[in-house]
């Protein structure tokens, strides 16, 4: 689907701006994010100024709102261009956790608001999300429909809106979010998506952090009869299974994979450096044919993963609906590649004390998280099979 609100203007004015966007984001992230990646990872730190700088600090479109139309204050990028931007972020930042926080905000929360929000919601939220003033969050458990578990939140109608009750963990962005995207089950069946403000009565954010992705702010959210007005409903009441849920799934599979393409590029490049520096049996590791084969394989996997993720993103720019099969296949492939590359990179680094920013060590841990989220293989494979077999 094409962007309706505005022509694409990437600052270069030409089609095929992806390499420039990726390079711009890479440079920005390299300058702004990379230097503090390791210490923030150690301390589980979140730096609001850093996020602001990513949102508006570069010469190109900001990272906070690439998919927000220009008329609403965003970058007005296509999905393919956004994918390139996020690849650059991953490569330059060498920070998978922060990149995840950016994707959750700029894609997973933004796009459902854009696609299914009421006009009031779009008017209020999208410009402020694009500028980075308002940060959006959501639980990564809610991006695969109810594949992993029944909806953890229930909604019941009251005059003027809904009362939400339940608990969500693995909420990316929770401690710093202005609002959250929440899918809740209705009494009579069906599920509805809401945008819920962080300051709403009855909403509490507690501690709850996974061991990986430490530079992403995490929290557990408790909703205790939290009121959401009717205008906060995204899409049709009871229609999430046909509207927001499949959209969230495909966005997660596609766009949280995008920074990992960049991270994989960084890992593969660093592995080449390691092979040149380390010595074994008195010879540079780079002279060893098995090491050379490994590095060749890494570079092959990165290119393949990049293609499948870009194809999935391009589904959002085409006239037809985006393909869930393409997106699920992309995630299946990219997650496997990320784990494999991270493992081999860590292997090449050797068992000794980490050097530099220890990307190999951090990515080894975070790639496991990446491959387990989005439903992991247990969800992705049946989704692909269902599409192939016309079952499910």
């Amino acid at each position: 689907m094409t962007l309706l609100d505005a022509p694409v203007d990437t600052g270069t004015g030409t089609v095929g701006a992806e390499p420039l966007l990726a390079e711009g984001a890479r440079r920005l992230a390299d300058r702004v994010v990379r230097p503090s990646a390791a210490p923030r990872d150690r301390d589980r730190g979140w730096d609001p100024e850093l996020f602001s700088e990513l949102a508006g600090g570069g010469p190109g479109p900001g990272l906070a709102g690439p998919l927000v139309p220009l008329t609403r204050g965003g970058g007005g990028l296509s999905a393919t261009q956004t994918c390139a931007l996020l690849e650059g972020l991953g490569e330059g930042s060498r920070d998978p956790g922060l990149a995840l926080a950016v994707v959750v905000h700029a894609v997973l929360v933004t796009v459902p608001l854009r696609a299914f929000g009421t006009e009031t919601i779009k008017l209020d939220y999208l410009p402020r999300m694009a500028s980075g003033e308002w940060v959006g969050g959501l639980s990564l458990r809610q991006t695969q429909g109810t594949a992993q578990a029944p909806a953890a939140v229930a909604a019941r109608p009251v005059p003027g809106g809904w009362l939400l009750r339940g608990e969500l963990d693995l909420v990316a962005g929770a401690p710093v979010a202005h609002h959250l995207l929440v899918v809740a089950a209705l009494d009579g069946g069906g599920r509805t998506a809401f945008v819920v403000d962080r300051e709403a009565d009855g909403l509490e954010v507690g501690e709850g952090e996974p061991t990986a992705m430490r530079t992403c702010p995490w929290g557990r959210v408790v909703l205790n009869d939290c009121f959401a007005p009717d205008r906060a409903v995204l899409g049709t009441v009871g229609g999430a299974a046909d509207e927001v849920e499949p959209l969230l799934a495909v966005l997660d599979w596609t766009f949280t994979s995008a920074p990992w393409i960049g991270v994989m590029r960084a890992l593969a490049r660093e592995a080449v450096g390691t092979a040149r520096e380390r010595r074994l049996f008195g010879r540079p590791l780079a002279h060893d044919q098995t090491v050379r084969f490994t590095l060749a394989d890494l570079s092959i996997r990165v290119e393949l993963a990049s293609e499948v993720v870009r194809r999935a993103a391009a589904g959002f720019d085409a006239a037809d609906r985006p393909s869930r099969r393409d997106a699920a296949s992309a995630r299946l492939f990219a997650a496997s590649a990320a784990r494999d590359i991270a493992e081999r990179a860590a292997h090449l680094s050797g068992p000794f004390a980490p050097s530099g920013d220890d990307l190999a060590g951090r990515a080894h841990r975070d790639a496991l998280f990446f491959s387990a989220t989005g439903g992991g293989t247990e969800v992705l494979r049946p989704v692909i099979a269902a599409s192939l077999l016309e079952l499910g």
Binding site: Q144, G145, T146, A240, Q289, F316, P322, A386
Partner: protein, 370 residues
């Protein structure tokens, strides 16, 4: 198989190794049996299959389920190489799913007339040339017979009610392979042995063990060829043996074959000692057969264009290796069994209908909604 080859196999004593003296065997030690299995499979995997299906698997099945009192002569004829047996289970429309098997045994109309068998078995080792088929069939039970629904019928294949045909196959081409059509073929009453289907896996495990040794031997042959080639072949001014990538492939193969062989010997030892070891053999069959495919793929890689040339040893091994993965329960089928043995309970089948209700069954809207 050239007649001279069969004569030499018989004279070597190979066929006798697996059985006690009472039925004409020599009762070889587990180590001897293992060495012999691997040696013949190294020499020719196809010949190995033909000889071992008959003298080990079929003889054990007859021995185990039929007993030696009534079938001692039949076992002896296989062990002495006077007759060749096939194990006829698979049918044209069915693999290892017994519920789809149609071949059936029915009693003759006249008392004392034995039984008649009808049906078609397909993709069976030795079928085109065997003298006797150990055949899995349904029992047509008279009223009041509450015995097992299944039987093993030891069917004489040299009779008018039997037609055989060849099926061309990818690997193990030295082994005759094909189908058997029974049209009211006669079976003596004593040669129809009712067997509960679940028990059959116990006997079939001999087949998995046989197949595992075939895989290990194929892998060993491929590795030996690879080592030889790596020492001889010079590329970019260096023998392949000096290239670490080739060394790594050889090393991985060596480690994997060793692991499989040790497990195979342990399994055979257990089996010869009279213990079931069925789950262990299932695990072995999965690993050994898939391992051999991996080793052979590496061997072809090391040999380059020679490895994909028709008539080259590793080209033959490449085709042979996959036969072991499929033959006598595929890896997929056996993995289900191994999973069950870990305490997971039996496989559960349900109609595949859970993706759409979870919200993942349709393509989403685009960026701007419906």
């Amino acid at each position: 198989m050239p007649p001279q080859n069969w004569t030499e196999i018989v004279e070597s004593g190979y066929l006798r190794l697996f059985h006690p003296e009472a039925v004409g065997g020599t009762g070889g030690s587990p180590a001897t049996q293992a060495a012999a299995l691997e040696a013949l499979a190294r020499a020719c995997p196809g010949t190995y299959w033909t000889a071992t299906v008959s003298a080990l698997l079929c003889a054990k099945l007859i021995f185990t389920y039929g007993g030696t009192e009534r079938h001692g002569d039949l076992v002896r004829s296989l062990v002495e190489g006077r007759r060749l047996a096939a194990f006829a289970v698979v049918e044209t429309e069915a693999g290892s799913d017994a519920s789809t098997f149609r071949s059936a045994v029915r009693p003759a109309d006249t008392p004392g007339g034995g039984f008649y068998i009808s049906g078609e078995k397909s993709r069976i080792s030795n079928a085109p040339v065997a003298d006797v088929a150990v055949t899995l069939a349904r029992r047509e039970k008279p009223p009041g017979d509450d015995g097992p629904d299944w039987c093993l019928a030891f069917v004489d294949l040299r009779q008018p009610g039997v037609r055989r045909y060849d099926i061309p196959h990818m690997g193990l081409r030295g082994m005759p392979w094909g189908g058997i059509v029974f049209t009211d073929a006669h079976v003596d009453a004593a040669d129809v042995v009712p067997v509960p289907f679940e028990e059959l896996a116990e006997g079939m495990a001999w087949g998995w063990l046989k197949t595992s040794f075939s895989a290990i031997a194929i892998a060993e042959s491929a590795l030996a060829a690879s080592v030889r080639h790596a020492k001889e072949r010079v590329s970019f001014g260096r023998p392949l043996a000096h290239m670490e990538g080739v060394q790594a492939q050889l090393a991985e193969s060596r480690a994997q074959i060793d692991a499989a062989r040790l497990l195979a010997r342990r399994a055979l030892h257990e089996r010869v000692a009279g213990r079931s070891a069925r789950d262990l053999i299932a695990k072995l069959k999965i690993y050994a057969t898939e391992m051999a495919v991996g080793v052979v793929v590496r061997a072809v890689q090391i040999h380059g264009a020679a490895g994909v040339t028709k008539g080259h040893e590793v080209e033959r091994l490449y085709r042979d290796a996959e036969m072991n993965v499929i033959g006598g329960f595929t890896s997929n089928r056996l993995r289900e069994q191994v999973a069950e043995s870990t305490g997971l309970g039996p496989a559960v089948y349900a109609e595949f209908d859970w993706v759409t209700p979870a919200g993942l069954g349709r393509d989403p809207s685009g960026l701007d909604g419906p």
